[in-house]
Symmetry: C2
């Protein structure tokens, strides 16, 4: 009955969000989401901070604020998150966004016209694929292995397509859990410099490391201001507060700020202030110390659960993040296996929605370990192992 | 140095937000903003509600939520805001947005392709003009008088341009303060039905009525589902919490929800829950009873202040909202007058930014009365009257 715009006709609702509806059934063990553990939230701290913030008559928290973001949060983010990673920045390098997803939308929309080419990892975050569809951008897939983007393929695709942007999730990638190695990080920054494209470095999982050594962001190797780094408070404080960050050269920040102004004026000041206090009080290191062993146990339980799977099934072995990526042998009907799994009360997301070029999807699927307790993970992996064993062609 | 997209190159930072920078000087009496009075915020109530919400371990307030919005807010909005206006709705008619401005962005982006035609009031809200620029939409101006859109001109422009949308702020319009009369509301809905265009009814000021009788929204006359109504909590609770609402047919809500999903996943749940409690506890009527006399005094003080102006100066006499619209006689350099006013420590926004077709701007300017106390308004109007008297050509 209605005539909608091409851009909304181009996009389909997220496969994951559609699966939300199934999650009402508490018997289903859901490896299908991307939520941090609710046990990770610092309820008392957030209540205490919020009560403190609202003492007195804090009109600045309730009135309109500037688009760039609440200054104390931008300052706290620089001091407590960027500087420990070896990055220096001023307020002019920082824009606060309404969650990490808005940072994606405005950064992509500020650089790419309809039909422009972006290189993407295959697979990649499906929320970003929605943005590319919305903006009708030309996506070119670059191969990945367990060390992230494959450089040979990247260089070939750069030469062939002269892209305006490379979109990468370098650390504990969604959906694979893969991490871009140090050498490759350096080379990606060099290539951007040499060929003049933007690197959109989406790094929301970097602080969720349960094993191994932290790697510096690609941004630390950025000599010519070509790297736009995105971050989010969703996985280290809470997603429901919707606070994310764009880190870039001042000229870029000005442009993405104008884009944000057209989209939602500014991010809620109260939730920005909660983050500012949380970081400013130095609470992040203690939070990560508390949550890291919890997540490590969940990850290890999931990896151990593959003992119930046929030995031909391959899976990633991430050192952090939220996800494990599974590759089944041969050509399997993964959607059908997903349905059968739900009948057995265990849920996952098939791999295809994470690919722009569905022909690359193979027989893959994504498992989330962060949102389930170890005992549920153990049971769920046993159930899933049985479904997969019974359904391999 | 960077190659940005056409859409961000098309838009300029808001003239009003640029003037924010001047507002650091407390001696300047600012009629230039669009803020509700900070004296209107219910600090104690919001603190109490937030403390109550954060008691226990409310994981639903901190975890990812659904794009459509927090159900208790959608329910409370229907019961406490829509139903008293004679509108019935179900959850499927409601999407919560990150402020009213996001409602504008996603509604416009869901219907209009690049180059499509939208009819707009001349003048209109400059934030919406930014969205039209961003989406590269073709704007056609429709004349207004003190009863809102002029129907003869509207009908002529419909025939000439076959628009896909009419954008209107029917009540206490920004920037004019004009209100669309009852007869015209009915006729606008009929015309949309007859010609098949969408009416985007942006009504954030409707509950800020200090005199006269409330008028029903255009949506109440909508027989064929062509009216998309936007609302905001910014002026009746607080802008800093960034909560707005889209009310429309379910098919439209599905599409704008997909657009929102690509843009910021969902609106912060904590701020949504604050609004849900605020409305659900029945606090809105008492709040409006308390703030109405305060705003009425500010409006009356401003209108009285025109005694300091030359008698040829015309001004609107709104019964609510935040703004008074001023028309100077002849052809004046309003930007120059604005600079001279700032030198005399009083600020306003020239009319031109509110027009898509700048040739229609004449010698106009917008005054905000909501954000200054009556004594400051009286002094400011005396200062401004003198500047204008001294500078009329």
């Amino acid at each position: 009955m209605y005539e909608f715009s091409d851009r909304v006709n181009n996009i389909k609702p997220s496969a994951i969000r559609e699966m939300f509806k199934l999650m009402g059934d508490p018997e289903i063990i859901a490896f299908s989401g991307g939520n941090p553990a609710k046990e990770s939230f610092e309820y008392d701290t957030i209540r205490e901070i919020t009560t403190d913030l609202l003492a007195g008559e804090p009109s600045n928290l309730l009135q309109y604020g500037i688009t760039e973001g609440y200054d104390p949060l931008r300052e706290a983010y620089i001091k407590h998150i960027l500087e420990p990673k070896g990055l220096s920045a001023g307020l002019e390098n920082i824009l606060i966004t309404t969650g990490g997803s808005q940072g994606l939308f405005i950064s992509i929309s500020a650089f790419l016209n309809e039909g422009d080419t972006v290189l993407i990892e295959a697979p990649t975050f499906l929320g970003t694929l929605m943005v590319f569809d919305y903006l009708n951008v030309n996506c070119v897939s670059v191969a990945m292995d367990e060390n992230g983007i494959v450089l040979e393929d990247l260089e070939a695709k750069i030469k062939e397509h002269n892209p305006k942007m490379l979109y990468t999730i370098p650390t504990f990638q969604n959906p694979t859990g893969y991490t871009l190695s140090l050498d490759r990080r350096k080379r990606v920054a060099e290539l951007a410099d040499e060929h003049g494209f933007i690197v959109l470095e989406d790094d929301p999982y970097c602080d969720l490391r349960y094993k191994g050594e932290a790697l510096p962001p690609i941004k630390t190797f950025d000599k010519s201001g070509k790297v736009v780094m995105l971050n989010s408070m969703s996985k280290i404080i809470a997603p429901g507060i919707r606070v994310g960050v764009v880190v870039a050269e001042p000229e870029i920040i000005s442009k993405v700020t104008v884009a944000k102004q057209a989209i939602d004026t500014h991010t809620a000041t109260l939730t920005q202030a909660i983050c500012a206090e949380y970081l400013g009080r130095g609470l992040l290191p203690g939070h990560l110390e508390r949550t890291t062993p919890m997540y490590r146990e969940r990850l290890d339980t999931m990896l151990d659960g593959f003992k119930h799977f046929p030995s031909e099934v391959k899976f990633s072995k991430p050192e952090g993040g939220l996800f494990v990526w599974v590759t089944l042998p041969g050509e399997q009907d993964v959607d059908d296996i997903a349905k059968k799994a739900i009948a057995e009360k265990v849920a996952f997301v098939p791999g295809a929605p994470f690919f722009n070029d569905k022909s690359l999807a193979g027989s893959t699927l994504r498992l989330n370990f962060s949102a389930s307790t170890p005992d549920r993970i153990a049971i769920g992996m046993e159930r899933l192992g049985k479904v997969i064993t019974d359904n391999l062609k």
